[in-house]
Amino acid sequence: MSELYELTAWELAGLLKEKKVGSVEITNAVLKRIEEVEDRVNAYVTVTPDSALEQAREADRRLAAGEAGPLTGIPIAVKDNMCFKGRKTTCGSRILANFVPPYDAAVVELLRKEGMVILGSANMDEFAMGSSTETSHWGPTHNPWNLEATPGGSSGGSAAAVAACEAIVALGSDTGGSIRLPASYCGVTGMKPTYGAVSRYGLVAYASSLDQIGPFGRDAKDLALLLNVICGHDPRDSTSVPREVPDFTTFLDKPVKGMTLGMPKEFFSKLDNPDVERCIGEAKSVMESMGISFVELSLPHLDYGIAAYYIIAPSEASSNLARYDGVKYGHRAEGFTSMIDMYCKTRAEGFGPEVKRRIMLGTYALSSGYYDAYYLKAAKVRSLITQDFRKAFETCDAVFCPTSPTPPFKIGEKIDDPIQMYLTDVFTIPVNMAGLPGIALPGGLSADGLPVGFQLIAPHFEEARLVQLAAAFQRETDHHLKRPPL
């Protein structure tokens, strides 16, 4: 018999419904697991056991009263960039180390409404800028499969928490791959929904036109349940799209036979890692055996994704992060001589090197004389990338590709080489540029026993198709059932 913390959300929901177990019992099991492994993994910035148990008791009351939703009583970790009324929300940064929001993010409201048990805030790269969760002010998160490896980033804490069984499910955010990369590196399933599908209200902004909140879980079914909770229109977010949200669980058992997946040659020609090539090849064979066909296609502007992204995202970030100035909230330096000196010292002390680098880069790209050459050019290339995908979806149902060029890399390996770090996201960034939904799911282990994932990308608002494909794949495989030897 597995421990409670090893089960999926839907398995636990079944036990709760059958009254075989209570939410307090589940929550205690997970809190105990956190106590056991957290000092090795560092998946959390904050764990709030008292609050979690109180929510669990309330969940049990709702379950007893028959007022429960499908995920009532299930423990969840929330990335530290989603505002939490009355509890510190730091975005992995010193500049917000003591910030206590006076309001809840839209998704936090939705989790509360569902009666989920929020365990605490998951660690992340500072302001979600990073691909390894090493830039957090609270120290790096370690990959549960190998503590010397990174869990990927920027939602490394959320992915590691689910992989290490320190949470049943989790929420992350994805601006250039920040859900899909850590999902792949930690051997869990993670999805970035379509831009506009989940409210960004209360998500601390990194790059507003690219940021999107999404779920982590142990399998596609958990993702479907969590998508049902968080997707939907929010009038407080002007970029939230008003539309009918399907019940994603109804797509779990739909057949996939006869579907076509596209393989962008711009991606596959770059593969030079044997572990990734093997896992990708095996996943493709499995899906072919399920009656899915594959076509090669060309998305000619994918190669420019990283260059365009690292103009657009830092440009938006340079403006989004201007508000951290030591006036209204957050860190303020001491010993300044003037207003401008206070600003400059506060920000120099409050932000880490990667955040400063991106602020400088974005400021430069928007500055007088450079706007056309950088920001405007990148925004045009973004149009071309989006058009490429639109064209691709004329010949396939979804795009199939790796999530990352390599299995998880070592902590410290790329931290001083920004370009190498940026190239980690070569396969995930174009999805954000076009605002598409993408899912990352486990595809096996490397020779060193580290997880390797792959990615499926669907047209706008076709998250359900990704759930359908992922669920079908996971019926045929057991990669997602493997647990790290912690």
Partner: protein, 95 residues
């Protein structure tokens, strides 16, 4: 160099960041590498391409002109590094 040391200084002031001399040298060289990488964008023919500001192809929604309660003053100021009465307090701003 794609970015001069003066430009690094200029950008640091615009972005309100104090940089130590060694940081300045490091950032200049890293930004230079990154900007060199971005030169590849000049290969792309973007004549007649509309720039894309975001993925949602709708128009901005409008809110009704209805007043809702503001925060309590103490909530608004709860995170203030320094306050005086119900105002945020900052070093003297000279115009």
């Amino acid at each position: 160099m794609k970015i001069t040391s003066e430009e690094v200084d200029y950008v640091a002031v615009l972005g309100r960041l104090t940089l130590e001399p060694e940081e300045k040298i490091k950032y200049q060289s890293q930004l230079d590498d990154i900007l060199k990488y971005m030169e590849m964008l000049s290969e792309v023919d973007t004549d007649d391409v509309e720039p894309m500001a975001g993925p949602v192809e709708l128009y901005t929604p409008l809110r009704e002109d209805e007043v809702k309660p503001s925060l309590q003053v103490d909530e608004a100021l709860a995170n203030a590094p320094e306050r005086e009465g119900s105002s945020f307090k900052v070093p003297k701003v000279i115009e």
